[in-house]
Amino acid sequence: MTILLKLEGLTKAYPGVIANDDVSFEVKAGEIHALLGENGAGKSTLVKMIYGLVRPDKGKMTFNGEVFQPAEPRAARASGVAMVFQHFSLFDALSVAENISLGMENPPSRRELSARIREVSNDYKLPLDPNRIIGDLSVGERQRVEIIRCLLQNPKLLIMDEPTSVLTPQEVDVLFETLRKLASEGTSILYISHKLEEIRSLCDQATILRLGKVIDSCVPSEQTARKLAEMMVGQALITPTRKDQKTGDVVLKVSNLTVPSSNPFGTTLKNIALAVRSGEVLGIGGVAGNGQDELLLALSGETRVAQDEISVDGKPVGNLGPNERRKLGLLTAPEERLGHSAAPDMSLVENTMLTAAVRENLARNGFLRWNAAKDFAETIVKKFDVRTPSVNNAAKSLSGGNLQKFVIGREVLQNPRVLVINQPTWGVDASAAADIRQALMFLAEEGAAVVVVSQDLDELLEVSDQLAILNEGRLTSPVATASLNMDDIGLMMGGGAQTEMEAQHVSS
């Protein structure tokens, strides 16, 4: 096979950190090439250089036999490089065709474009109606829009950044089929992920990055997932374990929770009911945008509901605000780290004040005890291995994984009665994710009730005792996790009343 992209000695340094250090590897034509590494290993910087968003300080790229120095993404696209980002850049209120046309240099007429979208989407079995409004699409469908936007450029190299983090198992299968078809037609794919099983089944070749350097390369299917993870992390991995759980009384009880959505593209929660016992982990799965955010807001107290719809240890708390609930032991950690569970421009010390003032006694008569806050921040940093030069650094200066460890640590160390977490390991590297899951299990062992909302099914199966699925604002009745396999869950996530019946069938 001919070599499509060749990188030689690429180096990029940012103030205080070398993102890429002398990175060299090559991607052959028609190859699905995995780029594997922890968060902060330099994967994103590397693909940004290939896509023309960042200029390398040193080094040389060759694309299709020619020297390749894209000054901007437009130049990269013109050479045949396309990229699907982890976060989509789509306008909710516009249609599929309008969104795609906005990203084009010389958009054809709407009619012609719609025809081409239909054609490409049929060819690659990615059904998509060009006239639908983005706001009405599922996350998986939105990703299709981004992929089709790329395919319309007939790329020679397609870069995909963590594409499966938002998909159901069935959607992942469809995506992989598409990618394999593309590769068989000669398109190379650079696939960034830290989901190792996926890489083993999909990719022909893998390059492993650690701390900005190429550590190793291998044929993923010849390695075990564990071996890959250890290459990536550079140390042996501990699988989170927990002792036999002793479950106690019901701590968190939600009944008849109905919350209308606050925005037109949100989800209305309908008649949610759940009960979590002390020592138990309830996993809530489901594709993003099915009411996860709304459920979290209702549980944290940011959205107030009727008094008796939520109770903690038998006390109704539905009408209470976040701090009153914290006083009773109901703690939460929302999905969005920067701007929701932490204030980006504030230091870690200041960020402890966000949620810990009540339970950790960080304020007296309204006056803040900064020394106590600093001590608490340092405890979190130490116990949860948060890597930061100092607790006075701004939250935004931490990598995603480290900030997440800080946020989770802040809640866990407050000894909650109930901890509700949305996406505990989203965008977090393998070793940090393992630490976080372990911490959640310890917390349950100590007698707390834990609710984990996640789109990562492996994670849910690993940590939770009971699993329920959120679908269009409704929650299925929980099923014991031990009795489930991937296919059952995939069907539960597919939605509808049928799913619920099946779930009950499985549980009985």
Binding site: P15, V67, Q69, G301, E302, M346, L354, T355, S397
Partner: protein, 361 residues
């Protein structure tokens, strides 16, 4: 060529240096401007920045610095609380007027009785008047979601009409031979906000401004409410998550800034100005917005910025008088100060890098 590179963290050092840099840049650009007008740039800059403080007539100008700076500082401190939380009170001028009217009205109601109780009552009335005037946009915003910028600004014009009506009607001096304006409070010992130490310009309003600076500093750095104000401005969603009650914060921020503006008006009318008149207000409420931003919404910064702006006012008047500089040139000069401040602000979040030559072949 250059390019800008975002700093990983906002630089504390540059936040402190940039205002000084802006003053220096303003001096240079202002000097060039004055040179084009045919005046000696060095003399003009000296007249504006040096003479009010250390010149031959400094004994007269120095007290003026406090007299002009105090209301600016007092109002700007109040505004900065709201600005930090993203609550925009643009109507401090109106609250200043209402504070003055209420304070003066209470004083005049007791005329000619003499009692030490009268002045404290006037202070209370001024504070209350300003607070209530600011509560109008606050309650409308909380209750009906109106825009506080528009409502507070519009209420300035209502307040100005009220001021005119008061000077011509209810509060008009019965012994004033038909001229508009109230009795002069200078002639009424119990209501007069005299200098605390003769010849210093230090009156109760100056004391209040210093106290406000200290209290604001403590509030913002040591108190939960101040923390919530900062949090709301920086990350509104995180603030809700932290249990901040937005309506309460709106009422507090607008109420406090109204109260301080009202106090400033009351101290002004009972002291330096002396009487309610149609042209009593001179734009302190608007200039205080500039002071608040020039001082980076930080209490100590506002203290310095208020004094600096007072200095350019006084120095500007000297330069106008001695060099016949047009008033517009002085205003331009003050505008440049804000302009340069905003421009060099960039340096605290970005660093300038020279572009390297491409090393790859």
């Amino acid at each position: 060529m250059f390019h800008l590179e975002p700093r990983p963290q906002t630089s504390k050092l540059w936040i402190a240096i940039t205002p000084l840099l802006a003053v220096v840049a303003t001096m240079i650009a202002g000097g060039i401007l004055f040179a084009f007008l045919g005046k000696d740039p060095f003399v003009s800059i000296r007249l504006i920045f040096w003479d009010p403080l250390f010149g031959d007539f400094a004994f007269y100008y120095r007290p003026q610095l406090l007299v002009k700076g105090a209301p600016l500082i007092l109002i700007a401190i109040g505004l900065s609380l709201g600005f930090r939380a993203g609550i925009w009170n643009i109507g401090a001028e109106g609250q200043y007027i209402i504070g003055a009217i209420c304070g003066a009205a209470v004083g005049l109601a007791f005329y000619p009785m003499e009692s030490w109780l009268i002045f404290p009552l006037m202070i209370l009335a001024g504070a209350l008047g300003g607070t209530l005037w600011a509560m109008i946009p606050a309650i409308l915003k909380v209750r009906y979601g109106t825009n506080e910028i528009l409502v507070s600004l519009m209420l300035v014009y209502v307040a100005e009409k009220l001021l005119a009506s008061m000077s011509l009607g209810l509060l008009k001096n019965p012994e004033g031979h038909g001229f508009p304006g109230s009795r002069n409070l200078r002639d009424y010992a119990s209501a007069f906000n005299d200098e605390l130490f003769a010849g210093t310009g230090m009156h109760w309003g100056v004391a209040a401004a210093f106290i406000a600076v200290i209290l604001a500093y403590v509030l913002l750095n040591r108190h939960m409410l101040g923390f919530q104000i900062r949090l709301t401005g920086q990350a509104p969603r995180a603030a809700r998550f932290a249990g901040v009650n937005p309506p309460r914060l709106i009422l507090f921020c607008l109420g406090t800034s109204g109260m301080l503006a009202g106090l400033a008006g009351m101290f002004e009318v009972s002291g330096p100005s002396g009487q309610i008149s149609i042209d009593f207000n001179t734009g302190y409420g608007f200039t205080a917005i500039i002071v608040a931003f020039l001082g980076r919404l930080h209490p100590v910064g506002i203290l310095l910025a208020g004094l600096l702006l007072a200095l350019t006012y006084i120095g500007g008047e000297i330069a106008q008088g001695q060099l016949n500089l047009p008033a517009a040139a002085i205003q331009l000069f003050q505008g440049m100060l804000l302009f340069f401040l905003l421009a060099v602000d960039l340096l605290s979040n970005f660093r300038i890098r020279l572009n390297q030559r491409k090393e790859s072949i």
